[in-house]
C-alpha cells in the first residue's frame, strides 16, 4: 500500500469553534464516514475490477487460440458491462452509518469508544452532568481528529493489479498476429474466415469478372463478393456458399463459345489463305491465333488492293473463296465477309472488295475479343470452382478435424507462417492453387495463346492456375491429387456412416471435371509421344530402347527437305 497526499480536503466541512459540542461531533463523524466510504469504494471497486477484468482478459487469451465471433464478444461484453455496472452501483449506493464511523474513529484514534458513547448520548439525551461532561470531552477530541493521519489515502494493490490487467488486455489486442483481432477497434473474427489462399482466389475472381464487362457479366463480381460477405457474417454456411457459387458458375458459363471449333475453323481458313502470297501474312497470323495482327495485315492488304496484279488478285480471290467455305459456328460473319470480298474481287469491284476486307479485318478483331472474353470467363469460372472446392472441403473436414489432418499431412499453412484456423482444409490442392498465383493472372496468358494456363496443374500454364509456375519448363512436382478427397466424397449409400447423397456424388465428380474444353489444351507432342505418355508405366529397362527407337525414326533434316 502506498500513501498518497489528499488534495481534496473539504475544509468547509470541518468543525468550527462556533459549533456546539454535539454539532462538532456530528460534523466530525460525517467527515470520517465520507473518508471511510471513499477508501472502501476505492478498495472494493478496484478489487471488483480485478475480478471482472479477468473475464475479458481470459476471453482475449481464448480469442488468440480460438478466434471469437463479434456476436459472441458483443454478448459477453454487454453482460460484463451490465454486471460490473450493477456491482459498482451496488457498492456506491451502500453508505455507512455515523455510528460505524464513530466506532472506526474510536479504534483509529484510540479513543476507547468515546465518540461512540457520545454519539449514542446525543441521540439518546439524558440529564446527567456526567453525560454532558463526556460529550464535551468527546467533542474536544473530535475537533482534533486528524483524518489525514488516521485515514491516510492509500492506493490498494488491487488498483495496480487492475491497471496491469488493463494494460495487458490492451496489449493483447495489439499483438501482431495474423489471426488476432483488435477488439478495441471493434474487430472480431468473422463467422467464416477465408484463408489467405481463398482470399487470393476471390480477389482474382473478382478482377476477372470485372474485366469481362463486355459480356455484361460484371455484376457477377458483386454477387461473388456478396456471397463471401454473407459467409463471413455467418448468414450462410460453407455448403450454402458453395451451392450459390455453383449457380453463379452456371450463369457464367451460359453462352460459352465453342472456342475449339472457332480455332479449328480459323486454322482451316488460314491454310486456305496461305495459298495466296498476298494473304500469307494474314494467314500466318491467323494460324498463330494472332487475330489482331491478322486484321492489321488484312487492312494493309485492302489498302494495297489496287496495286495487285490480275493474277495475284485472282489467286487471292480463289483463296478467299476457299476460306469462306470453312464457315463454322462463330465464324459465319467472317466467312460471309471473305466470300463477299472474293466475289467483289472476281467482279473487279475493288472498292467493295476493299470494304469487305476491312469488314473481315474488323470481324477478326471481334473474334479475337470474343475469344479473349471467353478465356476470361473460363479463368473466372475456374477460380470460382477453386473457391467452391476449398469451401466444400473445409465444410466436410470440419473445424476440429481439419487441424489434425493438417498436422498429419504436414502441409498445412503453418509451414507458411500462418496460423491454421478452424475449418481450414488440409489439402494440398489449395496449396498448389496458391502457388499458381505466382504467375500473372492477366490477359497475358490469353494473348500468348496459352489456354492451358487455366488448367489445374497444367503442364504448360504460365501462371494463375494451380500448378502453374510462371511458365517454367521444368517438370513440376505436382500438388497431391485430390484422389483421396474424391474417394471420401464418393461414398455410396449404405456405408456405415450413411454415405453421400446421389446429388453429392455428382457434385464431387463435377469438382474433378475441367471446365476448359479439352480441345483448347495445346500440345506440341506428336500422337506417338502422347500415346507413350498415356501408358501407365514404362518398365525401366525398356526406356533406353524406346528412346533409341524414337531417335532412330526421328526425321533427319534431309528427310524434312524432301517432304
Amino acid at each position: 500500500m502506498v500513501g498518497v497526499p489528499d488534495l481534496n480536503v473539504r475544509k468547509e466541512k470541518e468543525p468550527v469553534p462556533s459549533m456546539s459540542d454535539k454539532q462538532i461531533i456530528i460534523a466530525s463523524l460525517r467527515r470520517v464516514e465520507r473518508r471511510i466510504r471513499a477508501d472502501r469504494l476505492l478498495t472494493e471497486l478496484t478489487l471488483g475490477a480485478t475480478f471482472f477484468l479477468a473475464i475479458p482478459l481470459l476471453l482475449k487469451l481464448w480469442d488468440l487460440v480460438e478466434p471469437l465471433r463479434g456476436v459472441t464478444i458483443g454478448i459477453i461484453g454487454g453482460i460484463w458491462v451490465l454486471l460490473f455496472g450493477a456491482f459498482a452501483v451496488w457498492r456506491i449506493a451502500q453508505k455507512g452509518t455515523l455510528e460505524e464511523a464513530a466506532a472506526s474513529a474510536d479504534t483509529r484514534a484510540n479513543l476507547s469508544d468515546e465518540l461512540k458513547t457520545a454519539f449514542w448520548f446525543i441521540h439518546n439525551p439524558r440529564r446527567s452532568e456526567w453525560v454532558d461532561a463526556q460529550i464535551r470531552r468527546a467533542a474536544g477530541n473530535a475537533r482534533n481528529l486528524n483524518l489525514e493521519s488516521l485515514y491516510p489515502r492509500q492506493i490498494p494493490r488491487t488498483f495496480y493489479i487492475a491497471a496491469g490487467m488493463i494494460v495487458l488486455f490492451v496489449s493483447l489486442n495489439f499483438v501482431p498476429l495474423p489471426w488476432n483481432h483488435n477488439w478495441l477497434t471493434l474487430q472480431a473474427a468473422p463467422a467464416f474466415a477465408l484463408t489467405d489462399k481463398e482470399e487470393a482466389i476471390l480477389k482474382q475472381t473478382e478482377e476477372l469478372l470485372r474485366k469481362a464487362e463486355k459480356l455484361k457479366k460484371s455484376e457477377l463480381a458483386a454477387q461473388v463478393e456478396d456471397i463471401v460477405e454473407q459467409l463471413k457474417e455467418g448468414k450462410i454456411d460453407a455448403q450454402q456458399a458453395a451451392q450459390m457459387l455453383d449457380q453463379l458458375q452456371s450463369q457464367l458459363e451460359e453462352g460459352n463459345l465453342d472456342t475449339a471449333s472457332i480455332n479449328e475453323g480459323l486454322e482451316e481458313m488460314a491454310k486456305d489463305l496461305q495459298q495466296s502470297d498476298q494473304l500469307e501474312p494474314t494467314a500466318n497470323a491467323m494460324e498463330g491465333k494472332q487475330l489482331n495482327l491478322a486484321a492489321d495485315e488484312l487492312r494493309k492488304l485492302a489498302e494495297k488492293l489496287g496495286l495487285n496484279k490480275p493474277e495475284a488478285s485472282k489467286e487471292m480471290q480463289k483463296s478467299l473463296q476457299q476460306a469462306a467455305e470453312n464457315s463454322r459456328p462463330g465464324l459465319e460473319e467472317l466467312a460471309k465477309l471473305l466470300k463477299e470480298a472474293a466475289e467483289n474481287l472476281k467482279n473487279e469491284q475493288q472498292q467493295l472488295a476493299q470494304e469487305s476486307l476491312d469488314g473481315a479485318a474488323q470481324e477478326l478483331e471481334n473474334i479475337q475479343q470474343r475469344l479473349d472474353n471467353q478465356q476470361l470467363k473460363n479463368m473466372a469460372s475456374q477460380q470460382i470452382q477453386n473457391l467452391k472446392d476449398s469451401l466444400q472441403q473445409r465444410q466436410q473436414a470440419g473445424q476440429k478435424g481439419a487441424k489434425g489432418q493438417q498436422q498429419a499431412s504436414g502441409k498445412g499453412q503453418n509451414a507458411q507462417g500462418q496460423k491454421p484456423e478452424a475449418g481450414q482444409p488440409p489439402d494440398g490442392e489449395s496449396q498448389s492453387a496458391e502457388s499458381g498465383t505466382d504467375g500473372e493472372p492477366t490477359d497475358q496468358a490469353g494473348q500468348q495463346g496459352q489456354p492451358g494456363a487455366m488448367m489445374p496443374g497444367g503442364s504448360e500454364g504460365t501462371g494463375l492456375m494451380p500448378g502453374g509456375k510462371g511458365g517454367s519448363d521444368a517438370p513440376r512436382e505436382g500438388a497431391p491429387t485430390s484422389l483421396q478427397v474424391q474417394l471420401q466424397q464418393e461414398k455410396v449409400q449404405g456405408m456405415q456412416d450413411g454415405g453421400e447423397k446421389p446429388e453429392n456424388l455428382e457434385e464431387s465428380s463435377k469438382q474433378e471435371r475441367s471446365r476448359l474444353d479439352y480441345r483448347n489444351v495445346k500440345s506440341d507432342l506428336s500422337p506417338a509421344q502422347k500415346d507413350l505418355l498415356n501408358q501407365d508405366r514404362i518398365p525401366w529397362e525398356y526406356r533406353p530402347l524406346i528412346k533409341d527407337y524414337f531417335q532412330a525414326i526421328r526425321p533427319t533434316p534431309q528427310k524434312q527437305d524432301k517432304q
Partner: protein, 330 residues
C-alpha cells in the same frame, strides 16, 4: 460543572492509588489482584481469592484493612464452625437488679472488612450464614434483624488443593461474589523482594489512608459514570455468550458449559468497567473496560458440564474465546 466532575475523578484516582500504594508496601506483585480487590470494595461487592496456601492471600486482606479506617475481622473457617460463630448469638445476661435477659452478641461478621479464610472448609450451613449476610447485608438472629455496617466487604479465600474434607461453594453462592481472583505463584523477582522485606528486623508498616466516608464517596462516584447502550449491549452479549444456547453461544461454550452467568455477571462487568474507566481518566465505559474485568467477573459464574470437568477445561479459556468472538457492535 465539568471541572467538578474532573475533580471528582481525580480524587477517585488519587485515593485508589494511595490505597494501592500502601498495600503494595507489604504485598509484592499481584498488582492486578490488588486492583481487583479494591475494585470489588468500591463496587460494593465481595471477592473470592483462590490460591494455594502461603501466597499472601490473608496478608493482602489484613493489609487492606490496615490501610483503611475500617473495622476488620477474620474468621477461620473450619468444619466445626457454626453459623452463630459468624453471625453472633443471643446471650443470657444479668442486669444490675439480677434480672436476666437475652442480649445479642454480634459475631465477627459485624465488621466492615471480613476475611473468610478457607471458606470452603466450613459446612454448607455455616457457609450459607455468611453468604446470606453478604447478599442481604443484614443478619437475623432469633426474631431480630441486625443491619451490617457499610461498607461491608467480605474477602473469602479458598485453597484449590486439598479438596478432601472440604465443602465446595455451591454455584448459587459463588454467584454472590463480585469477582473471583486467582492468586498465582509469584515470580522470581517478586520472591526476592518478598524475602528482602520479610526477613529483616523491621517489617514494612502501612498507614491508614482511607476512611469509611471516603470509601462510600468513591462508591457513589463509580455509580455515576455513564455507559452507552452499545457498550452495555456488548456486556450483555458477552454475558449471554457464556450460556450454551444460541444465538450467542460459541463453540467452546456449547461444548463445555452447563450453565452460564447470571445477570449479576453483567452487573459486575458494567460496574467493574466503570471503575476501570475512572482509573483511566475516562467519563464513559468502553468495551475494552468490559473485556478487562470479564475474567474476574465471569470465571466463577461459568459452570462447566461433565465433559468440561473431565477435560479440566479452564473457564478462563472459555471466556477468552467469548471475548475474542463477540463483536463490539451488534
Amino acid at each position: 460543572m465539568s471541572s467538578a466532575i474532573d475533580q471528582q475523578v481525580a480524587t477517585f484516582q488519587e485515593q485508589f492509588k494511595r490505597v494501592k500504594d500502601e498495600v503494595s508496601k507489604v504485598i509484592v506483585g499481584y498488582s492486578e489482584i490488588i486492583d481487583g480487590v479494591i475494585m470489588s470494595l468500591l463496587a460494593s461487592g465481595h471477592v473470592l481469592l483462590e490460591g494455594v496456601p502461603g501466597l499472601g492471600k490473608t496478608k493482602l486482606v489484613s493489609t487492606l484493612s490496615d490501610v483503611m479506617h475500617l473495622k476488620f475481622s477474620r474468621i477461620q473457617f473450619t468444619p466445626d464452625l457454626m453459623p452463630a460463630d459468624i453471625t453472633g448469638t443471643n446471650v443470657v445476661q444479668e442486669d444490675a437488679l439480677g434480672e436476666k435477659f437475652l442480649e445479642f452478641q454480634p459475631g465477627p461478621i459485624f465488621s466492615n472488612i471480613v476475611l473468610a479464610d478457607e471458606v470452603n472448609r466450613a459446612t454448607p450451613k455455616t457457609q450459607s450464614a455468611l453468604l446470606e449476610a453478604m447478599e442481604e447485608r443484614s443478619v437475623t438472629v432469633g426474631k431480630t434483624s441486625h443491619k451490617l455496617d457499610s461498607p461491608f466487604f467480605v474477602l473469602a479465600t479458598q485453597n484449590p488443593l486439598e479438596m478432601e474434607g472440604t465443602y465446595p461453594l455451591p454455584e448459587a453462592q459463588l454467584d454472590r461474589f463480585f469477582m473471583k481472583l486467582k492468586v498465582d505463584y509469584p515470580t522470581v523477582g517478586d520472591l526476592h523482594t518478598i524475602l528482602n522485606r520479610t526477613t529483616k528486623a523491621k517489617e514494612p508498616q502501612v498507614d491508614r489512608v482511607l476512611g469509611q466516608g471516603e470509601v462510600l464517596a468513591m462508591r457513589k462516584t463509580v455509580r455515576a459514570v455513564p455507559i452507552a447502550r452499545p457498550v452495555q449491549d456488548y456486556a450483555i452479549r458477552a454475558t449471554l455468550a457464556t450460556h450454551p444456547k444460541p444465538p450467542h453461544a460459541h463453540a467452546l461454550t456449547m461444548k463445555y458449559v452447563r450453565y452460564g452467568s447470571s445477570p449479576r455477571g453483567s452487573q459486575a462487568l458494567v460496574i467493574g468497567g466503570k471503575i476501570r474507566a475512572l482509573l483511566n481518566n475516562r467519563l464513559h465505559v468502553s468495551c475494552e473496560d468490559i473485556r478487562a474485568v470479564a475474567y474476574g467477573a465471569l470465571r466463577h459464574r461459568v459452570l462447566l458440564n461433565f465433559e468440561g470437568e473431565a477435560e479440566r477445561i479452564d473457564t478462563d479459556t472459555i471466556i477468552k474465546e467469548i471475548l475474542e468472538n463477540t463483536p463490539e457492535s451488534n
